[in-house]
Amino acid sequence: MIVSTEWLAEYVDLPASVEELTERLTLSGLNLEEVQRVGDDNAIDLEVTSNRSDCLGHLGVAREIAVLWDRPLKRPEPQPQDSGEPIARATSVTNNCPELCARYTARVIKGVKIGPSPAWLQKRLQTLGIATVNNVVDITNYVMMEIGQPLHAFDHAKLAGGQIVVRRATVGEKFTAIDHKTYDLSGDEVVIADARRPVALGGVMGGAETEISDETVDVLIEAADFDPLTVRGAARRHVLFSPSSYRFERGVDPEGIDWASRRCCELILELAGGVLCEGVVDVGGPRPRQLENNRDHIKLRYPQIERVLGVVIPSETVRKVLVDLGCVETHNCDHCVKVVPPSWRADLTREVDLIEEVARIYGYDKVPTASQLPIVPSALRREDVVLDRIRRVLTAAGFDEAYTLSAVEPELIDAFRPWTEKPALSTSTSVLRGATCLRQTLVPSLLVCRKTNEALSNPVIEQFEIAKVYLPRDGGAPEERRMLAIASGGGLLELKGVIEALLREVAPRAKYTHVATSGGVLDAQRSVGLVLNGQPLCLLGELSAAGRKRFGLRGPASVAELSLGVLMESVELVPTTVALSPYPPVSRDVNLIVDESIAWAQIEAVACATGGSLVERVVFQDDSFRDATQIGTGKKSVVFRLQLRSPDATLTSDQADGVVSRVLTALEADLGGKLRA
């Protein structure tokens, strides 16, 4: 809302400086956006919150100033001479949709002389940045900017039958607006029609065929109350936002309607001449207002002010503020005050609304900065502690944390689907350039970042992200699973090393098993799934050539995605120590020849299971040796170390050999493994 200081000064004595004015207004609810000097006037742009439609006119802003500086408000009382024929002879109004238009008033002035507005009026509109058209149209705009009530002037001669019908638009009905564009109406709009056709889109814009022109002689002035939602819908649907629709969307003062109509007619008579028909056609009335507890007033209990604000405000001050704002006091005692709020403040219906009014006028600066809250404990959630530790491991391992958008392009959903086959949830409008699907994995997003970084020739691209994926469920909200995803330039085993490190950090005793993957964008061999407690925990692998191509990557890349929910079940945040043996360990290296298909995990499992309590560690060393002539076709040599230790004594060589031979026997029996000769 742009206000002119010159105009405001007509209703209230302004403080000495614009700075003083805007500072106080800002602190009492009309936030200053900008001040511009226009000639000898100031255009002050004030931000008006959606509940304060009363301040969408100069009078409303002037009232705020009057209350804040305790100065009288000079409000004009328009009394136009209606010396013409009775209005009933000139026009009629039929309202077929009172639910869309609670009240409609019409006045008719005959014999006006259309011409330019006087300089003072043009200047005021120009200060506000409103284009001037002709005297009658300018006056409707002027009054709107004065009281906040939109008005419309029709060329009465061009209204078929000289009458007004307020009705719902019909489906597919055509309407040509003042902008000379034709709109197809949906049937949800309210239109003002004459005997034949729509002549205005109610509350939004007038029609071209009945607009005021130089030839206009008789004018019909509309002042009405259109339903906010209907006006908003129409303005949105047809992209026709106007100062009028803006005000109707926020609701107009039901009792300001007639004032605005009279004021408008008074100015037309004064500036454009003509004769006002006697009386007014006034159909409908104010929309019912519901006050708290179905009372006809609002009760404000004085102690409630301190209870909410934490400051005592003298009851005299409270009463004065409310009355100054336009409330009518109907009761006052030691305990409470009862008031009827003014018609222009539809936002005041409850005790707490009055408390806010008192607070903002009294001044929030008088609310002390003093918390009386008692000390209470608060603890980090387990999950937050785990995430914190995981972040520590990953940054220590040289990974940067990335944040990517939760929505992705549909193609990225299909690219990689580790957790679900269900179609992704999609958004009504694209979140960002084609990103319409809620993602089901973080990996593709990280690979897109990787491509960006490759294009920038960033040499090291090691990233991770912790965020949710959205897995659809039948009926109701999707399951939101928090994932950790990593994208790296290292190989599978390097990435696995990172996963192992973070598992050691938060779930040291978690025992996972390996499962094969189905490939896809991952290399089927150089990828693996980890399963924990029967649930899929993590998928990791190197991208296949096809996978790299799919994401437009030049260099090698590996990815991992870990389900943090599954991990949480095995998390141990408070480790329990075990007694450590004071005796030195004994180690035995084993070089085992097995079929290539035997996995290290199998060997390790057998060794641990059969070695008994003396086995402290089974340490993999190498499995790269293959030579058909030396160890046979399809065989490999697996070198590992058994580290043994007893809690009771230094192990003897015999004891150690005993364990090793037990393990070897089992490895041969279970896996066909033989010690290399």
């Binding site: 400051v311 809250l373 958008l405 085993l493 390097e494 990172v498």
Partner: protein, 360 residues
């Protein structure tokens, strides 16, 4: 040269090349073949091309066309052979690749500690300070239903905040007729469409519904609004919201908590006392509602909305507004983070350029 001879030469080169490329077993052999057939100086194709000069003028277009076709064919054959060898390498060693082996350390040319994203750093810092003030951090779903995103927050059916253009309502794809996919609104428990939450206040409702007073929490996380991305807007951003509900909580408590919060937050860079200022504002879920500014670095800095929890919100979660009062405040993490670090484009936070992240 007669056209027929020229074409015959080309055809025999094509079949030779195909046979040879298919037999190649390693990259060295393939490279030798490439030079033999496609070499720029002495390749067989080059030799034939030289012969084209002696083809009859009238036949030249036909000769040229065929030459190009064969050249392309040979190049494709080479490409195919390269791909075959590349995949063969992985397959042959893949048979021996044991993914159950333990992980290995990374070997990098440069040793470097990774960086936490600036949003994480900002969130963690705020969470930590609020924790010391007794506020426990909570989270909730990002996909919300009508009740938690609107109704319980005192946003009625007619409120503009519900406009489909101002929210990401969700749909699920279903197979329609003729095999086309159709969009079906994804409905919540109340049968109304689900949406990406537009504020983290939804979490407060969820906590209040399940917890009797007193409650002192901060909710954090991603929120979504259909803004066109530019230097200061992004359709996804992060919010932190504090909520305190108990008997006797006042706006003075709100001011005091905010003052302590910002004093702690900026304490490392500034010893001057932080002053908090309220300006009236409007939110459906608080009454009174204020915008909060802090005096920092010699100017007022707008830091977010706040207010006393609206009695309608308290009632919606089964609290008695005559028994308890509460305050709530919220702020956008990106804005604070950007201002603190001098980030001028919000999109930089989501591009994840390594060089950008390395600065934090």
């Amino acid at each position: 040269m007669a056209l027929a001879d020229f074409l015959a030469e080309l055809n025999s080169l094509a079949s030779d090349a195909q046979a040879a490329f298919e037999k190649a077993t390693d990259n060295d052999a393939l490279e030798a073949l490439r030079v033999e057939f496609l070499g720029a100086k002495a390749g067989r194709l080059k030799a034939i091309q030289k012969g084209m000069g002696s083809v009859d003028k009238t036949d030249k277009p036909a000769a040229g066309q065929r030459f190009n076709a064969v050249k392309e064919l040979v190049e494709q054959t080479l490409e195919a052979a390269l791909t075959r060898l590349a995949s063969a390498t992985t397959t042959s060693s893949a048979e021996a690749f044991d993914a159950t082996r333990p992980g290995k350390p990374y070997h990098r040319s440069e040793w470097r500690v990774g960086r936490l994203h600036p949003i994480t750093q900002t969130i963690e810092r705020m969470k930590e300070i609020m924790g010391r003030l007794g506020f426990t951090a909570v989270e909730g779903p990002e996909v919300e239903d009508d009740h938690h995103n609107f109704v319980a927050l005192n946003i009625p059916e007619s409120h503009p905040a519900r406009d489909p253009l101002d929210n990401f309502y969700l749909a699920t794809a279903v197979a329609g007729q003729n095999g086309t996919a159709e969009r079906l609104a994804a409905a919540g428990p109340d049968g109304k469409p689900l949406l990406l939450r537009s504020q983290t206040s939804t979490v407060q409702i969820r906590v209040l519904e399940e917890t009797p007073p007193p409650v002192r929490i901060v909710s954090l996380g991603r929120v979504y609004r259909p803004d066109t991305a530019d230097a200061t807007h992004y359709p996804m951003f992060h919010q932190i919201e504090g909520l305190c509900v108990a008997p006797g909580v006042t706006m003075a408590d709100l001011k005091g908590v905010l003052q302590m919060f910002w004093q702690s937050y900026f304490g490392m860079e500034s010893n001057e006392p932080i002053e908090v200022r309220f300006r009236p504002s409007f939110f459906p879920f608080t009454e009174p509602s204020v915008e909060c500014d802090i005096w920092h670095d010699g100017k007022w800095m707008e830091i977010g909305g706040a207010g006393m929890v609206d009695p309608n919100v308290l009632r919606a979660v089964g609290y008695d507004p005559e028994e308890v009062t509460g305050f709530a405040f919220g702020l956008g993490i990106e804005r604070i983070c950007m201002r603190q670090h001098g980030i001028t484009d919000i999109r930089d936070l989501y591009t994840n350029d390594v060089r950008f992240l390395a600065q934090f």
